[in-house]
Structures are given as C-alpha cells and as structure tokens.
Amino acid sequence: MQVYSVPKSIKKDSKFTFCSGCDHGLAIKLVAQVLDELNLREKTLAVASSGCSVFLYNFLDVDCIESPHGRAAAVATGAKRAFRAQKQDRFVFTYQGDGDFASIGLGESIHSALRGENISIICINNTNYGMTGGQMGPTSTMGQITTTSPLGRNEYYHGYPIKAAEHIALCDGTCFSARCALFDIKNIINTKKQIKHAFECQIKGLGFSFVEILSSCPTNWRLSPKDAHKKIENEISKIYPIGIFKDKTNDN
C-alpha cells in the first residue's frame, strides 16, 4: 500500500533548493496537495513574487508567472479579469513573502482585497526580507535583531510591524482571512485545511481569500531548523495569533 506520493502538482524529480529547514518547501508542498485534491492543476495560474518565494515556479508543475516585487496581487488581478473576459474558468493564486505582500506591495494587496478580486493569496511570513539577507521587514517583531535593526526593532526608531491577516479581514471584499503555522503536525494539518478553504472560496466565486503562514527562516534567524520552529511556537505565534479572522462562508 502506498502511504505517500509526491503530489501531481509538484514537478517530477524536483529538489527543493531552499535552505535546510526552511518552511517554504513545506508550504509549497501543501499548496500542491490542495491543488491536486481540488483538481485544479490543469486550470491554474500561479503568480510568484520576488523573494525566496519566487522559486515556486521551479517546483510547482502548473503555469506560473513571476511578478515584480510586491505586485503579485495586481498581476493576479489582471490575469483573473482577463480569464473572465475570455469566458475561461481559471484558478489564480499568488505565493508571496511578507515583505512582498505587506510592505512594497501593500497598496496592491489591500486594494485587491477591497475590490473583492476573486483570487487567493498565500503569504509566507518569516518576519524578514529573507532573500536579500534577513533585513528588517514590515513584520519583524519588536526587539527582533536583523541586519538593519542590529540593536533590535524598537517603537521609537523603527515603528511597529503589521498584522496582515487582521488588516485583510477588515476589507469588505475579503471572503476569508486566516493565519496558520507549520511548527508541528497539528498546525501543518490546519494550514492545509485553511489553504483548501481559501481555494474553495475562489472556486465558489466568493471573492478575496488570504492565508498568512508563519514560516521559519533558519538561515537569517541564525537558528537551527528545530529552534526556529520553537521560536514560532513560543514567540512569534503569540504576537501573530493563529486563527481565522474573517470567513464569509460562515455568515448567516
């Protein structure tokens, strides 16, 4: 009996090139499993962004476009609107970092949620700009030491981080907004469930769906993969609570 197989939506023979212990690989695998389960592979356009997330297109076996840094929600908006104009039923989602989604691209992100664009967004929150070497980003936590906050983030000098899932939940066009994590089996299962629910919102045409995933960046955090997960469990998930902040499918 086969207990595990590589998802159909993952390219054959692909090996993840992320740093060891990085949660990007796991997150992409979960996305691939959900694409399989919902039979979306053949009708999907994935929008990768700038950041470690960009390598999505080396692993996912679906049509992919890379967007300029921060513009994934706009690129996805254009694609989804175009498919609709062509009377084509296609599935469009973005896979973005926290810096991409919530800093340089915050305008595109919030406005696509406000417009209720029928797209789904997966945001990998690793509390820094991972690809460029771990600088302070919009989600870096108070006190967090990064290469550009060497003395730790503080409110006077740097200001405060953003809670993306809560902000997105405030937008009227948002159908679903949740935050989850990958530090243990229970949370991994929950994350997959939230991704699936978000994707189903789009399939049903209910508008913008958003999943923020608290993810590890052991390299830039200068921690072992195990300690990185502990940090998410004990510190980061206390600041960024795991939960569902909006779900229109529960209304009425």
Binding site: K11, R41, E42, K43, T44, L45, V47, A48, S50, V54, Y57, L60, D61, V62, D63, C64, I65, E66, S67, P68, R71, A74, V75, A76, T77, G78, A79, K80, R81, A82, F83, R84, A85, Q86, Q88, R90, G107, E108, H111, R115
Partner: protein, 357 residues
C-alpha cells in the same frame, strides 16, 4: 464603423482598441488622457470585459502583465509623470515578452509639470525608462485618424513580436476633435497558443519569468531579445515623406506638430523655396537609414519639436557627413505657431543663403 464621426484622439484610441479585440483596460486618472478610461469604463462593463480602476499606475501596468500573460489583449493609458511610475513593469514586460499596449498622452514635465501639450517624453519612450537592455516599439500618430490606425498597429506589432508597444501621443492630439472615418482593424490575429499561460492542460506547464540566476541563460535571453529588436528594426521602420524629392531644406518633426510643419512647407513652396518634411511614424525603431539616404543629396535640415531637442540627437545620428541640422523648439505651452516656425526657418534660409525669397 464606417461613417464619419467627430472624435477626439483619446476616444479614437479607445474605440480602435475595442475594435482590435482589446478585452482588458487598466488605468488611473491623469489629464490629458482620462477620456480613454472614462469611455472604456462603460463600454467594457456593457460587454462584460475586464476593466479595473486601478489603485495606481503601478497597479495598472502590473495588471496588464497578468492579463497579457493569459493571451488576452490589454490596454493601459496614462500620461508622462505617471508613465514614469510604470517603467519597472515595462522592463519586465520586455524581458517576459508580453504584448502590452501602453498609450502615453504626453503633458509637460519634468515632474508634474502641467497639462500643457508637450513632446517631452521622446527620450523616455525611445530610450526606455526601465533597467536593462530592452526596447519598446514606439508609434507616433499625427492625426486623430492615425490615433486609431496606430492603435490597431500597436496591438498587431505587440502580438507579432511579443513586445510592449507605446503609442506616444501629444496632449494636443489626444484632446483635438476631427472628423474621421474609423476603418476596420486591418491586421490578422497572431497565434499565441505556444506561449500563453492558460493552464497546463494536455501540455507541459509553462513559466514566464525574468529572474534568471544562471549567467549563461541570462546572457542568451538578452541576446535573443536583441536579435528580435534587430528584426523589428529591419521590418517595422515607418515614416512619411512630404515634398522631399526636390527639396533643398528638410524639416524633421513628429506627432501633430508635423502637420503644422506641412503648412510651413506649403507656405514656402508658394514663395518658391523648396522645403519638404520627413516625419518618423515609428520613433523606435527610428528611420536612420531613410533619413541618412535623404541627407546624401539634401544638406540643410531643420528639426522642430515641442521639447528642447530630444529627437534631434537621432536626426544627427542619421545624417550623413556634410549635412547640418538646426533646431526650432520650445518645451511647453501653446503649440509652436506657424509664424514662429516660419520666422525660425527664415533665419536658417538666410544663414544658408538658400533661394532668394
């Protein structure tokens, strides 16, 4: 679409875009081009097409990246300072080989400048305001009718070469109403099935990307783009010659200003001075060769622009040795008046002791 209508350049562009099969429009308001988006907002909604009042010009042009990647024709329009905001995505579109059609109805700059007519974006459009080795095709209409014809051509060339195309319109032309007969789109559809992203159904998955960590691959990609640009330079140069054959002086001008320049030619012809006009219709690729050819026998050139001489450097590059070029221009404001041009040319005639007046 065949009887004569009184149309502004902006509306002619919008109507021609629909006729050319454009199914998406993304834009953000800025004078003097807002009529394009205003007109299409109703028409596209009626047809259930893709119209988005974008949050910014950055949003708009990136939406066009997404839309064109699916094989859907998309239009973005804006003006000068706001076109500056789009340069990053234009560079991506060139690298990704995505057929975005972008209309720039120019206003005066730099910075916000003002909504006065100007041709100050020649450099940005033809040299490219984004990073890297790339080119956008740049078309320059000089009448409302040409606004429509070149919109058709912009969609066609963008699809043919998988390259962004800029329709560079001066604010005067965008706002000017003329009686025109809108003809049907004369260009064939280009098969895009080999590259568009429509879902990996019965074929391998595809990716469109500009990031390329492999040095050799990146080199090859840029060289391939460059080879494509050479093809475009070979095939698509377009220009108009007016009374050039027997001319002793040639005016170079583009856009609606070139029409006024024709009046200057007519004025002098009546006086027995043989002046002609050379008007590039493609600003990139620029008709270097054709202008160079003319300059083998005609030696006096006058470049007239509503800027401080941006096309002038291309004219100089084109001219063969012995030919010289003077410049008449101003950066902004009321269009150069006939009398101003005539006065300027009068001086040049005197300096060069051409024919007696």
């Amino acid at each position: 679409m065949s009887e004569k209508q009184l149309l502004k350049g902006n509306i002619a562009i919008a109507k021609a875009a629909l006729e050319a099969g454009c199914k998406c429009y993304f834009g953000y308001p800025i004078t003097p081009q807002s009529e394009i988006g205003e007109f299409l907002s109703l028409e596209m909604q009626k047809l259930d097409l893709g119209y988005v009042c974008a949050e910014s010009e950055i949003g708009a042009i990136n939406m066009a990246l997404g839309a064109t990647a699916t094989g859907t024709k998309a239009l973005v329009s804006s003006s000068s300072c706001a076109i500056s905001l789009m340069q990053e995505a234009l560079s991506y579109a060139a690298s990704d080989e995505l057929p975005i059609v972008l209309v720039n109805v120019m206003r005066a700059g730099p910075g916000q400048g003002y909504i006065y007519p100007s041709q100050g974006d020649y450099n940005q459009a033809t040299v490219g305001g984004g990073n890297g080795d790339y080119h956008t095709i740049v078309l320059s209409p000089s009448s409302v009718e040409e606004c429509a014809l070149m919109t058709y051509r912009a969609f066609y060339l963008s699809q043919k070469y998988k390259n962004p195309v800029i329709l560079l319109v001066d604010g005067f032309l965008g706002q000017m109403a003329e009686g025109v007969e809108l003809v049907k789109n004369p260009y064939p559809e280009i098969d895009n099935s080999s590259w568009i992203l429509s879902g990996a159904n019965n074929r391998d998955s595809r990716k469109i990307h500009s990031l390329e960590p492999n040095q050799d691959k990146l080199n090859n990609h840029i060289r391939n783009l460059s080879a494509k640009y050479k093809e475009i330079e070979k095939n698509e140069v377009d220009y108009e010659k007016y009374l050039c054959d027997d001319a002793e002086i040639i005016i170079t001008a583009f856009g609606s200003l070139a029409r006024a320049a024709k009046e200057v030619c007519n004025h002098y012809r009546k006086k027995g001075v043989r002046i002609g006009l050379f008007r590039p219709k493609t600003l990139w690729p620029f008709p270097y060769q054709e202008l160079g050819e003319l300059s083998k026998k005609i030696k006096i050139f006058v470049d007239i622009e509503m800027n401080l001489g941006q096309m002038l450097k291309d004219v100089k590059l084109a001219l063969s040795s012995g030919a010289k070029v003077s410049f008449i221009g101003k950066p902004v404001g009321d269009w150069l008046k006939l009398e101003e041009m005539i006065q300027g040319i009068e001086n040049i005639i005197k300096e060069n002791q051409v024919a007696s007046l």
